[in-house]
């Protein structure tokens, strides 16, 4: 290690108006900063990618450095649905049910070739990619992807979370996306 890191790198402040004594930024950016660094993933691990997720959570590649230390296995407290591994057609309705029961705002990361596009299993029993049943935000290629690749995917998700507008989930494009996937848009 050439030079010893003395000061841990603190998350940089969002762009805002900086004057001596005060700092002003939009509420969206401040809330985005908070959400970005405290994503609770739901590890929907089915096959080999699940073991690579174990490596990702263990001490060597530690996902806890990115604030996603706390896994939530129930969709109620999850922000990020990480679908890892092959999703068979028998498993499709279950992925969709778990996605629907997640609280807004929610994001989906599809890890591995099997989840993203059916991967090497182009067979009668495998769902060819989970974007056929739920909208996916980030696809991580690889079979299984290396933990570094997944961390790159997680950082992409963090950018999206950081820049999310409050009105996005009520915007017409989002509503069309939902109706495209057949998810009803009951207002109140």
């Amino acid at each position: 290690m050439s030079e010893v890191i003395t000061k841990p790198n603190i998350v940089s402040a969002p762009d805002g108006h900086q004057q001596p004594g005060f700092f002003a930024t939009s509420l969206e950016k401040a809330v985005g900063l908070a959400r970005k660094n405290s994503i609770w993933p739901l590890p929907f691990a089915t096959s080999c990618c699940g073991i690579e997720f174990m490596a990702l959570m263990a001490s060597h590649y530690d996902l806890g450095r990115f604030g996603s230390e706390r896994l939530s296995f129930s969709p109620r407290q999850a922000d990020l649905l990480m679908v890892m591994g092959t999703i068979a057609k028998k498993m499709g309705p279950i992925v969709r049910q778990v996605y629907e029961q997640m609280a807004e705002p929610k994001w989906v990361l599809s890890m591995g070739a099997c989840a993203s596009s059916g991967g090497i299993f182009d067979t009668y029993s495998v769902l060819q990619g989970i974007d056929k049943i739920i909208p996916v935000d980030v696809y991580v290629p690889g079979c299984p992807p290396r933990p570094e690749q997944v961390i790159d995917g997680i950082m992409l998700i963090q950018d999206m979370v950081g820049k999310e507008h409050f009105r996005r989930r009520q915007s017409p494009e989002y509503k069309d996306l939902m109706t495209k996937y057949g998810m009803e848009n009951q207002e109140k």
Binding site: V31, Q97, E104, P105, F166
Partner: protein, 121 residues
């Protein structure tokens, strides 16, 4: 030592600030957080499949019994904290007093053991 009503001011202020914090955070998150209701979201989470049957079915009293006993002995431990903090100042008198306090609980505990409340089968 006469305490005038003004002495209670700090307590009221802390109480207001505490409840104020709770109310504002609840209100702000309700306002800021995006909401999207759907029928499926209202259903209970059943590991991914549709839930069948009624969740409100009678279950055995043993669960309730163990829970209540835990609460009871947990409260007992709460009384020990202040004693443990200034353990030195209270000296032998405080020690004996707390010993008596624990003895009363031990009688109750012995009763529970004899009645077999903790036996699970």
């Amino acid at each position: 030592m006469q305490n005038t009503p003004a002495d209670f001011l700090p307590i009221i202020i802390t109480f207001i600030v505490a409840s104020g914090f709770v109310v504002t955070t609840m209100f702000v998150t309700h306002l800021l957080g995006p909401k999207r209701h759907s029928k499926i979201k209202q259903e209970s989470f059943e590991c991914g499949i549709e839930s069948q049957g009624n969740a409100r079915i009678p279950f055995s009293i043993k669960y309730f019994l163990v829970a209540i006993l835990f609460v009871l002995f947990d409260v007992e431990v709460i009384f020990m904290y202040p004693w443990a903090v200034n353990f030195k100042e209270l000296g032998i008198l405080g020690f004996m007093e707390m010993g008596l306090f624990i003895a009363f609980f031990m009688v109750g505990f012995f009763y529970i053991m004899k009645k077999g409340a903790l036996k699970w089968e």
